[in-house]
Point group: C2
Chain length 330, copies 2
Amino acid sequence: MNKITIKDVAREAGVSIATVSNALNGSDVVLPKTREHVLDVAQRLNYIPNVNGRQLRAAQTRNIGLFVSSMAGSYYGDMADTIHYLCKKYGYELHIFIVDEEKPLLPTLRNQSIDGAIILFGVLSEKDIRQLALSRMPTVFMDHEIAEENISSVIYDSYGHGRMAAEYLLGLGHRDLMHIFGVSRNYDSIQRQAGFTDALRDAGVALRPENILIGRFEQSAAYRSMHRYLKEGYPLPDAVFAANDLSALGCIRALREYRIRVPEDISIIGCDDHLLCSYVTPGLTTIRTHMNELGVEAARELFRLIGGGTGSVQRLPGDIVVRHSCAMRT
Amino acid sequence: MNKITIKDVAREAGVSIATVSNALNGSDVVLPKTREHVLDVAQRLNYIPNVNGRQLRAAQTRNIGLFVSSMAGSYYGDMADTIHYLCKKYGYELHIFIVDEEKPLLPTLRNQSIDGAIILFGVLSEKDIRQLALSRMPTVFMDHEIAEENISSVIYDSYGHGRMAAEYLLGLGHRDLMHIFGVSRNYDSIQRQAGFTDALRDAGVALRPENILIGRFEQSAAYRSMHRYLKEGYPLPDAVFAANDLSALGCIRALREYRIRVPEDISIIGCDDHLLCSYVTPGLTTIRTHMNELGVEAARELFRLIGGGTGSVQRLPGDIVVRHSCAMRT
DNA sequence: CTGAAAGCGCTTACAG
DNA sequence: CTGAAAGCGCTTACAG
């Protein structure tokens, strides 16, 4: 068990630990010759600085924390890579944490092992937020809207996505619409539905209350909801806006079992532009939400905050990717 | 900037910092009454223990590190969730790090901010491995075979996967086979190819050298290789074993452009059982590698090592998921 | 049961 | 340019 510390290096090199520290940290006060010697010894002893010792004393950690609810399903993976890439570019390490809903997030956030945080998902109470604001820890939220001195959010324009879907379907001549809703307390879900229903209302088009199904952003839940809907004999709508692509696919699966053709009998538009969209048949028309750009903007925003900038809210617009799951009303 | 330390709590509660520490850590030496009082004060002051202070002193960190090359593409995301779940169950925190190929991995590993590591991907030199062995840090590798006192590996039986694919295709009557290779220095790639070619050799079936194409585990690379193969007018093989599902899909895309039908004209088997397999048409027959179980086993193995167990090598067998991309030779 | 004190490994003014 | 010393926030023997 060779636990080499700065002391060992100092002794071996015949200098003080202060000099070792200075040499190692590239401080230019130390004589080049001394420096090289220290570096040599450190290398030879396989010296690895202890982060805890360093961080206990140092003002900054050069670590960024990324907090995610889950890494599954290819949603956040790409984004994590993107954020990691940017952190590296700015000279920071990225630590990814999967958030445990039962465990308070705040302690980890305020641990002072990180200089800033990007929260892709995390439940914080009002009180937590107030504390976070007081702590001055630069933080970027991606799961809802908030702005404080040291807190920004970089989010999807989910309200806009909802409107966009509605307007696209209306433009194809559809009038009897349906929405596959996501998750009740999810900000994007709520916003997408709001945008969708507002656009219908603005166009003077009624939405049957039974035409809002629960999809929970999952294939299976959307499948079950749609299946039940058809089984109970409700009239088939003209078109469906699903809160995400997976639930659109679940919906299509149920329709297929009833021999209802997409897009001949019903049009479907999803949201996200998931990898699957271009693989399935028919290709799924969807709203591209630019997930990676969201990651890029979040990282940039975090570094702006770390650099002393003040919090703001940023919304990323989406656009429609037309494939083959929507058709003009005949 | 309210940075509350154990000192503040001690002062406010009118006790020593030792007592605060004991109260907070649930040590039963402290009088219940004192304990509650301290806990109250800590709560009121929003005290959050500093991890660095603690870890500098404490023997264990209760942290596990997971090292991944990339989180993109839905490969490792599910596994990360699985491992996180198990860590939680064992009372450990999981820190996920995306490995930077240019940056030495060893320092992070030996940081002593973690009690153990699972390495899904990481380049370590012979010397690094020796040091790792000396450091006694419990470590589980998933990207190649290795066993030391404190080091285990839990890996796919990739050689077996290759054999399995070959035997399945031979069993369908195919004799002119092709392999879409993955990445040259990847352990699983090499093993899959070895298993495949050994099985052919054992069956006395020749493999044309030009029938090993480069797929790099990617759709696009496999597409390009297959496209070039067809363009140059080589005879169409009976069946293809692709090193993973994505490259199988790239291969299919190229075939489709040449109006070659799967499985009527050519059979294709992939590897992994990626989410996509059941979505594409035709459904992709593949070798299920049980990625999640691999994660489960890796975590279990790590905790066994942490508990004092000694290193071993564990291989997970795969099995064939039959869909619609392979047919009997007619 | 409680507290004074040492020490974990490091950085950073401050002397020299 | 170099070193002695203080101190970051905590835990843990050790006295009392």
